[in-house]
Amino acid sequence: MTSKERVLATLNHREPDRVPIDLGGTSVTGIHISCVAALRDYYGLEKRPVKLHEPYQMLGWVDEDLKQAMGIDVEGVFPYTTMFGFKNVNWKMWRTGWGQEILVPEDFRTITDENGDTLIFPEGDTTAPPSGKMPKGFYFFDTIIRQEPIDEDRLNPEDNLEEFTPVAEDYLEQLSQAAPAAAATGRAVIASFGGTAFGDIALVPAPFLKYPKGIRDITEWYISTSTRRDYIHKVFARQCEIALQNLEKIHRVVGDCVDVVFICGTDFGTQTSSFCSVATLRELYMPYYKQVNDWIHKHTNWKTFKHSCGAVEKFIDTFIESGFDILNPVQCSAAGMDAAHLKAKYGDRIVFWGGGVDTQKTLPFGTPEEVRAQVLERCEIFSANGGFVFNTVHNVQAGTPVENIVAMIEAVREFNGMKSRGTHV
């Protein structure tokens, strides 16, 4: 089987020749740039600065040589701009706080504040207020909340829709090349077009906008899902209309070069509970999910991918009813998310893309043997009858020992009965 055939088999709940692997295909299935460099060194690949793929979480590009070394089966097609609103073009060198020389796009513009923290600017515009901050000595940016005072009488859903616009012509042009190029690798292609995430709390503060209006504070947004539900419905309804129009245009350009679309990263689970009730998911989110998924299933061959961290077991039936084909990151350590239970109850109806190894404890802090044991166990549980793409539970975090990442890859190979390297694609 080619990588693409392998992934498509598993997405259609048929058992492939071996468990396919994604690492680096999306902004939620990737690897911190420091770990990408460590992996390149481990596999003895050409020494060169790693490109920053996603500046918010500081994810590194997994280049072709590293994909081959690790046996990756999935290729990513990425959004028009990054989380900070600039395009990934025209690379320049940048030295990180931990001393790594990396390549960043030209509009990745930062300053160091009086505390030694790194501040980054939306669209690279240093005349606008900074929208992200990386604390000194640490590894990720987080959003700087820019919330104008809220005047209840003047709240206008249009203010929360600034980021949802008709797809740019130059993005369509870019996709017309990027999608066929991704497909030509022989891997399955997962695309993150953007615009279909309803109320993703990472996107609500709009770190990509220079002067965001509307409800942008995280607490205020969560409260609004309860107290200003009509407002949120108006935002989602209009966003959905725009998204459907965009998907049509995008489909015309990329067609069947794409196999999977990352629809939404809104987190509904916490470690032990959830952000809302099943009733709220069904009333506030499901109508829009259903419209997007239904359109895709009616007009394309794409499978749809839903990311939600945390304890989401009680939501899975609703995700399935909403038309999602794939669930990620399958956080088995959260309440009610036991791997065997999930596979037994939902395994024939939804694909688990993730759940391969825990990234809060086992992968960063465990021993290589502990990593191996967990990976083998998860592959055993999740892979029967297909419906499983191996991926870590969310991105590989900074500071994860390279030996553990390698132990993870080796364990998938061991499970697949394939000890020799580099013969995947």
Binding site: P135, D142, I218, S273, T280
Partner: protein, 211 residues
């Protein structure tokens, strides 16, 4: 239902305007501020916490209750301070160094305030030395440390170690919480307690203070 007892309902349903109005009226009528805290605010936040634990309430409802409680508390706090009323306990709280996430920390802070504790909130991305300074100056009973990121969990240990180095560790109880934090991690780094969620923090804090 007496006018004052409507405060319980206003907090529980997250009606900030009503909570403030009822509190103002009660204070103007000469109601003992401590009575307002003990008969209305503490039970209302306890009930909000209970509902959160059994999934009748979720994050938005808990945030709303906390906001209503805070509105009322702002009116009451200066009066309690004036008469030197002792709180249930004094807490220094913050998200540890390197971590800018504060929703969980804010919820714990509100639950503790609603539970009658005096809370000194140091904010997010708080360096160990700032915790040390706060413990030295404010003499709290408890220090609460929050982390959302896996990579900032070690900052909890650094903070506890800094308290030890400053000779202050024995003066306070240390409580930890946040998504990646576990009971086992709490034990490993030498914390006194771990709360799996915001609602659990209050009974745990009360228990630790009684010891």
């Amino acid at each position: 239902m007496s006018e004052l007892s409507k405060l319980y309902e206003a907090i529980l349903t997250g009606d900030s305007k009503a909570a403030v109005a009822i509190t103002k009226e009660a204070l103007a009528a000469g109601t003992d501020p401590l009575e307002i805290v003990n008969t209305q605010m503490v039970p209302a936040m306890d009930e909000a916490g209970r509902r959160f634990e059994c999934e009748e309430y979720f994050v938005p409802e808990l945030l709303l209750a906390a906001r209503a409680m805070k509105g009322a508390l702002e009116l009451i706090r200066p009066l309690l301070a004036e008469r030197g009323t002792e709180p249930a306990g004094r807490v220094v709280i913050g998200t540890v160094k390197g971590d800018l996430h504060d929703i969980g920390k804010n919820l714990v802070s509100s639950m503790l305030e609603g539970g009658g504790f005096e809370v000194i909130d140091l904010g997010a991305d708080v360096a160990p030395e700032r915790f040390v300074e706060a413990v030295r100056e404010r003499n709290p009973d408890l220090v609460c440390l929050s982390a959302l990121l896996t990579v900032t969990m070690p900052s909890m240990k650094t903070t506890i170690d800094a308290l030890k180095d400053a000779g202050l560790r024995d003066r306070v109880r240390v409580l930890v919480g946040g998504a990646p934090v576990t009971e086992q991690w709490a034990r490993e780094i030498g914390a006194d307690g771990y709360g799996p969620n915001a609602a659990a923090a209050v009974p745990l804090a009360r228990k630790l203070i009684m010891k």
